[in-house]
Point group: C2
Chain length 388, copies 2
């Protein structure tokens, strides 16, 4: 298989938008195409992550509409993939194989979501369809509830008091807001204090409002190209060194939801393909849909011993300037979480970081970055390793 | 790239079912796995077409749940693709590239839908989300309306009286019901007369009730494997000779909706990869969601001159025993149309036909078959050529 690189990236401002999904994606995609120094007609395929276009704006089969909006030719396959919040990670992995196989040279991948089209109760209920519908959603559990359970089990398993864990989780929020304050595309560009988090309203005990990422509209896109031609497109290529995707069954079939086996599988595949270890990674964009989710992801990807991820946050190891900066973009927590686009926004951040284009939030000397995105009932995880 | 083959296929009875989407797919998939003489743990990836699991049963991210139900290991990526009614065609094409690339040896592909979970008005409205939501669905057009317009334009363009076209369309329905009557898995296993069609209630002038395919629950699956190992799995391999996928913009951006450019692109790609021409094809499963859709598809795939597809039906050329049997399974019209599964059901029929296992509806001596599935606002078409 051929080596695969990223030629260019694009991303909309995250937050609230009145634009349609097609318009949002077209904006991000045109930036990715333009910055790749290609014409739209050179794109040979499109893979698009989108989760709830049907509920959000009555739009299914959105991928060919996006392709047409961009002016892509009729012989360009345009495919929507849906793996809940991991959708854009799935899209990038599909783009990867079509280029790696030698079938296409240039493929566009990304994602889009209009998650603020619904109000919070409706959006929460609608997102919960990514859990198991017959036996689990039925009990009333939504995603704050799922991660509330993860947090309680985590504290119990590792002998942490709930108060200690709550403080560690709050430190995740404070850190990611601090990072997001330096990201002009982030939904929340404002620092917050530990007190703000710990005094915020309870959502799903022990998760409080500031432990939760927001609902977000936005899109992100990347142009993936064969390493054979990448030199013609950019003088700052970023290579896709490894990809992985794992799958879990419903929550009730998972033995221990503090250790997400689909993630361990996905990360393992990505490390194996890249020939790298966790200690080789310079920066990480991972799935902090809730603060506890960042802690368990940082452990599941192999960066910290199980049960010690919170301690690492406490010690500042995961802040910009620390040993392993996590979510320098602000993460889902502060940058925002347009669910179908999140995996592509992670790629956007890592590419910008590895190119040294992140200004105030730059991770100095970063050469290898890793993304992680989690979808559904802890059911789909896609991990990708990027390097220069 | 490596040669790719199909080791085994599975399909549920089409019609109404009380089973969940996961249960339906698991049934079809286990048949495909068992008939491929593999263990479930040998499946390395799953691609699943599903369109409306969220509206039908509140289930998003259904692919990993299906994988888990089948007992697939946690390191198996399970990916849902959605290209409206072309979804399972998209899924098969994805399975193809992962095997052709050399990345995986054995991949499961298929689709599932529970389209009868909603009543007809709601289902019609919900399906219409596969059209363009901002400007077109808004006008009140649903899919019967889209194809009603196709029929009127077709008659006008080729100088046919509406009555002549209506009779030709009715003959498509009569033929496909005749075929479906010989298919034990078909939703409608009953022959109908021309009179029945022409006296049926008007749906979207000139399309009457019997010009329209039904709403259907069902699933179908295939096991795709590298040609290198296919000899160990089956002594009746069927090869995937060519694949193609094209994309159109919304209806309003298509110059002539009687000629679906995405189809001409998809078919062209499939013929080119296979090194074959339309005259090489022995049987066809194509997208007869409405009778007029069969006529325009048979022309767009290159089997008949534009404007003459109806005449070919009239002459019996497309019936079993005719020059080019189309939809020997009964097609979407009689076999049924569980939208996310249809492309895989086409593969099921073609594999069974090329293996000579179709009993009363067997197309004698068939060695090369071609499938065609159309999704959305005439927006996504996937064509695949299979051969022994």
């Amino acid at each position: 298989m051929r080596k695969v690189a990223i030629a260019g990236v694009g991303m909309t401002k995250f937050g609230r938008s009145d634009k349609s999904g097609v318009e949002l994606f077209a904006g991000a995609a045109m930036e990715a195409i333009t910055s790749s120094n290609i014409k739209t007609r050179e794109v040979q395929a499109l893979f698009l992550g989108n989760v709830l276009g049907d509920f959000e704006e009555g739009q299914l089969n959105i991928a060919p509409l996006c392709a047409n909006e961009l002016g892509l030719p009729v012989d360009v396959p345009a495919t929507r993939v849906e793996g809940a919040c991991a959708s854009a990670g799935v899209a990038i992995r599909e783009a990867f194989i079509w280029v790696a196989s030698g079938y296409y040279d240039i493929v566009l991948a990304g994602g889009v979501e209009r998650a603020t089209a619904m109000d919070t109760p409706l959006a929460t209920r609608t997102f919960a369809m990514s859990s198991e519908s017959r036996y689990e959603v039925f009990t009333g559990v939504t995603f704050p509830g799922v991660f509330g359970m993860v947090a309680r089990l985590y504290a119990d398993k590792y002998g942490l008091s709930l108060q200690t864990l709550k403080e560690q989780m709050a430190m995740v929020a404070v850190k990611n807001h601090k990072h997001g304050a330096k990201n002009p595309l982030a939904q929340f560009q404002k620092e917050i204090s530990l007190e703000t988090v710990l005094k915020s309203p309870m959502v799903a005990d022990p998760l409080q409002l500031f432990d939760c990422c927001p609902f977000t509209d936005g899109a992100a896109a990347i142009v993936v190209a064969s390493a054979d031609i990448i030199g013609k497109l950019t003088d700052k290529p970023v290579y896709i060194l490894g990809v992985g995707q794992g799958s879990n069954g419903s929550l009730g079939r998972q033995k221990d939801i503090t250790r997400i086996k689909a993630r361990e599988a996905a990360a393992g595949q990505a490390y194996k393909m890249a020939g790298l270890r966790p200690s080789d990674i310079d920066l990480v964009e991972l799935h902090d849909c809730f603060t506890i989710a960042e802690i368990v992801a940082s452990e599941g990807m192999g960066f910290f011993e199980f049960g010690t991820g919170g301690k690492a946050v406490e010690k500042g190891e995961t802040a910009i300037g620390g040993r392993l900066p996590i979510n320098p973009s602000g993460g889902l927590k502060a940058k925002g979480h347009p669910i179908g686009a999140t995996g592509a926004a992670q790629a956007y951040e890592i590419v910008k970081q590895l190119r040294g284009e992140c200004g105030e939030r730059q991770v100095d000397g970063a050469r290898i970055g890793m993304s992680d995105t989690l979808g559904g009932d802890l059911a789909t995880v896609v991990d990708i390793i990027y390097g220069v």
